[in-house]
Amino acid sequence: MDSELRELYQQVILDHNKSPRNFRIIEHPSHTSEGYNPLCGDTIHLYLTIEDGIVKDISFQGSGCAISKASASLMSSMIKGKTLEETKNIFDKFQEMITGKMNEEADIESLGKLAVLAGVKEFPSRVKCASLAWHTLINAIENKKEAVSTE
């Protein structure tokens, strides 16, 4: 496989695509939101249980490409147990990383496992795939009624 392509489709991403974490429905979520990527037909339904400003549980359903599915899976693993403030902080950093605005290696490493998605910045048409779950997350937290669309 070409090295740039391998950078995008790292083993961790392929793994999360095949067996996504937290891929289920929460029966009585405190927060929920839907996201669409009209360009490629990706959809995500996000479920959250937020108590005392902490994300106690998070799960998702939907269909999408490997990048969008892995991104949602990695996000759910990363966010579970975090405070809302920490969550928004991670969101900002993640956005910086995938849009190529984060240049320090240390900053990227601070994102832990999410760093595997850094390769997306070389594929402008795929940035939306990686960010769909995250925009949907912010929408859910802020209790916005309308669904997220990346267009």
Partner: protein, 417 residues
Amino acid sequence: MKSNLTTKTNEKIFNIEKIRNDFPILNQLVHNKPLCYLDNAATTQKPQVVIDTINDFYSTTNSNIHRGVHYLSERSTQAYENTRTIVKDFINAKSEKEIIFTSGTTASINLVAQTFGRKFFTVGDEVIITNMEHHSNIVPWQILCEEKKAKLKVLPINDKGELQIERLNNLITDKTKLISVVHVSNSLGTINPINEIIKIAHQNNVPVLLDAAQSIQHIDIDVQKLDCDFLAFSGHKIYGPTGIGILYGKENLLEEMPPFMGGGDMISKVTFEETTFNELPFKFEAGTSNIAGAIGLGTAIEYVSKIGLKNIHQYESELLSAATQKISDIDGIKIIGTAKEKTSVLSFIIENIHPHDIGTFLDFEGVAIRTGHHCTQPVMDFFKIPATSRASFAFYNTLDEIEQLTIALKKTIEVLT
């Protein structure tokens, strides 16, 4: 990639190496692999003669048309109007008055919706489209229906991606003002039975608009024989430039329709009290149009005509059947769109792999395909899928490239499943 494919039937015409040399863009590496351009339904590549025509126009002739009395303006006008004649002859229209330059198929359909529609539709009237229309033949009618409180009716398709033509007669009522139908589906490749559709429509006195965006480059079209009332197509799908297209309309209909846009060139006389509109076809060509694009389109049509659409269609059918065979043999692949009559479009899905991932993997093998809903979301909804991968072939493609596609697909499946 060296390719010596010549078809048995078209040996003289289909010297593929010579044809490929006409298209400079094809000779390049993408991600260090030979470019294998299979996104021809999105846009076709341009032969050197078209590129030269545009270059030559701007280098020697550029000037505004229908306005100046000077030498360049005369020459520019002549070249532009000469293209109108080329288009007229190509689709066998009765007169140049029936050939209107637009920016493309979308603009042509919107023109009809906003002029024919605005004039002839009233509350409760109906327009019939089909389940396999491109969004550009859905949305303009929705806008019209919203404005006029009219109704949009849809002719359904079957599992093969063919129209349920037997249901057309029942859809037509005395309120039906127009049938607007795609000749060839961009996402399925289906060639629709337009002779029959037009016959049924005309028995009910309903005019027909034919969206020829995906047929003009594959199938011989004779508007008089077909007896369609309107025909729309884009230059860039027939090896010409982007930003230029054609609306054909029967003269009596065009005469009755009000202008689309107001401006220069579409008037005879303007005072602040009153304006008299110019005659056909200029009535519908407000503002300075894409002159270089039009002239480039003329050259593209001449290029295609020289090879001959019958030869092109035959060769492309051979490519399609070879590709269909190869792709069907791969485990986990399902072809979407299996109509009996098809142009060289191959839409498919692979179990558990999203088309977007396929598109990126193929790109790294040099293979350019389109992935997504292809601006036909109702088709995707019908097949209950979010998207497909689509390979679409042109007469400059080869059997070697089909092999390249097949190998690339197998590699993709290996990594992603």
